[in-house]
Symmetry: C3
Subunit: 175 residues, 3 copies
């Protein structure tokens, strides 16, 4: 059973003042594209760098194949998810941030404001997504084709994806 | 009255051996696209990392909404503007450099040599432009649509831009 | 006589368990595109960060105009060439990695997994390429037009390239 960490980073969601929409959107996306037996481990933390980094490391200790974060990637003073991710990771993979920003630029010119990164914490692949649920599928569509290979090369498990369903469902992959 | 810092980085211009063309080109550009009442604070410094970083921090202390630098972004030994900017900033915004290089590649293959970055020094948005006056509009056209949102999200003032004039004037935005 | 360092990074090739294909592919490429008199200095090292960094610095001490590495740029635990390159360089040039990944994406979605960077070690230009021989020409085609200018701006020698042959041979440049 493959474990995938889903980390919502939001001051308000962590206090229960705001419904977490990002986390469930990630689980929905994964339910569509991952064929391998998997289970999500969902955690909500406030926008505090050390807390976010500790949550990522904890997912790695639990041998999650992947950790997907949502929120805290923008230019606001409280947005520190990329810094926390960099602190938790041994290696960074700059191509993911570049490609997700390029893809998001098709939808909004403010896509360049997202500071989202990806990297490896041990053999666990970690990737930042914006907080807006709509941006989650847009970003993952742009990079998901490379994720199973990344996880395997890093020493993680084989993640089978439903490429038919995936391709059919996500228009970006049609071109 | 919104303040915008315009920082020319050039050994020769700082000694008066060379006319500063980059600074005035930035002011001209802003006069066309910024509708809000604003005033430029123009400074010229030599290519010295600590001096550049101190000038950026000084603009932030003066509560500039934005600092635009010109010069010192290339591969020459004296080019240290990106390093100085990184040292002065609390947060980096990699999407700006990526997008400006991509846009400049339409004009010259050497666009990839520009090491220009953007970031936030407190609530002040900081962005590096090349020294060549022609490259200034090319780079700003590629990213200006995202700048007012960035400044507001970072806690700075509302910057009204003349999108009609802007769109009409700068061909890159037509496509 | 211009010297160009060709550094193969591979545990297996360094032990002689595997034929080095990347190094010869780089020499072949340079034979086609470089007109100036030049000689390669080829070295093979294992995937050890300090060893790779020391080899790069040694090439710079020998006044190589350029160092091209192959291998060790992926997400595998032993892949540390980018980290070694960053440690050896005084300045980084992020546009090279961005542009090579963008070009490689035309061929494979896993191009974003390459963590390859470029920078300057003194006046020596350093660039990482993937280990796969096929990716070497794809990556160099995407950025070579900017390399001679970079070397000269950094204080290195004038590198004459056969642009006709180059353009004719490499399809990416036709568009």
């Amino acid at each position: 059973m493959i474990k995938i960490g889903v980390l919502t980073v939001s001051d308000r969601a962590s206090k229960g003042e705001y419904e977490d929409l990002g986390g469930p959107a990630i689980v929905d996306y994964l339910n569509e594209v991952v064929i391998s037996e998997w289970e999500p481990i969902t955690v909500i933390v406030p926008d505090v760098q050390d807390t976010i980094a500790a949550a990522i490391k904890d997912f790695a200790t639990q041998e999650c194949a992947m950790v997907i974060t949502t929120g805290g990637t923008g230019p606001a003073p409280r947005d520190v998810t990329p810094e926390a991710t960099e602190a938790a990771c041994d290696k960074l993979l700059p191509g993911f941030g570049e490609q997700m920003r390029t893809a998001s630029l098709q939808y909004v010119p403010t896509a360049i404001l997202s500071r989202q990164i990806a990297g490896l914490c041990g053999t666990t692949f970690v990737i930042n997504l914006p907080g807006k649920p709509k941006a989650i599928a847009q970003c993952l569509d742009a990079v998901f084709a490379a994720i199973p290979a990344c996880i395997e090369m890093a020493g993680g498990p084989h993640l089978e994806t439903n490429t038919t369903r995936f391709t059919a469902f996500h228009p970006v992959h049609k071109h």
